[in-house]
């Protein structure tokens, strides 16, 4: 799913609850607010919404998002843009014998995405890709 070298955070967790229930927690804005962040999410493709975290002096706490994929109760994806980082969050729900295996992947833009983004995003992503190399190769 992920472009090679894209930096991403991947977390997996198994819940003793059916996928339909986990799906509700991921897509009902009131339930979503109880475990993630305050939001005006709607389970509609292309819906633009915001997550609202507590602001601080350097950050207004807003995360701009757009729904990319809604495939109940299997996959949910939205963009996640804040503080110059343009990224994508993807939830994958896999039914198990006793519940649901949830995979959360927070990654950079993928080239197959259709939405428009600023020209600078491309270079910025490459920069993040190069970050580890730069940090290790810089002459001290």
């Amino acid at each position: 799913m992920t472009e090679p070298n894209t930096q991403s955070v991947i977390l997996e967790k198994t819940f003793p609850h059916p996928p339909e229930k986990v799906w509700r927690a991921l897509t009902d804005p009131h339930l979503l607010a109880q475990w993630l962040l305050a939001n005006d999410f709607a389970p509609t493709p292309h819906h633009k919404f915001q997550f609202r975290a507590d602001p601080n002096p350097q950050w207004n706490g807003l995360i701009d998002c757009e729904v990319l994929l809604i495939d109940p109760p299997r996959q949910l994806s939205y963009t996640w843009s804040s503080l110059g980082l343009n990224s994508v969050v993807l939830f994958t729900l896999i039914p198990t014998e006793s519940g649901t295996h949830l995979r959360m992947e927070h990654s950079g833009f993928r080239p197959d995405q259709q939405f428009a983004f600023k020209g600078a995003s491309y270079g910025w992503r490459n920069f993040l890709n190069n970050l580890d190399r730069i940090l290790t190769e810089v002459p001290q």
Partner: protein, 108 residues
């Protein structure tokens, strides 16, 4: 997302020319403004302006040697950025734990 916001860093690195200059310095070591101008392919005043912004973000350091100014990358400035990426790992870990508790409380 918390106290160590990387905002000034992002602003400094949001420009592709500045990013290019920084990467060039990081990978090739100290360079004169002349060499950086040749590399960047823009005017020297423009390069100087970009270097000033990188300097303010503490991404580069400079020293004067006669009539030449030499710049080098200052890698420590990038650590808030790396911390910020690591922050998301902790953020999601904590949020998925909250999801677990919520699922316990929800109706079937």
């Amino acid at each position: 997302m918390r106290s160590t916001s990387p905002n000034p860093l992002f602003r400094a690195l949001a420009d592709p020319t500045r990013r290019g200059l920084y990467e060039h310095l990081a990978l090739h070591g100290e360079q004169t403004v002349h060499a950086l101008t040749a590399f960047a392919g823009v005017s020297q005043p423009a390069v100087s302006k970009h270097l000033t912004i990188l300097k303010r973000a503490k991404l580069v350091q400079h020293r004067r040697d006669g009539r030449e100014t030499h710049y080098r990358a200052h890698p420590d400035a990038l650590s808030p950025l790396a911390d910020w990426l690591r922050h998301y790992s902790a953020f999601w870990q904590q949020r998925l734990n909250q999801l677990e508790f919520l699922l316990e409380r929800m109706n079937p």
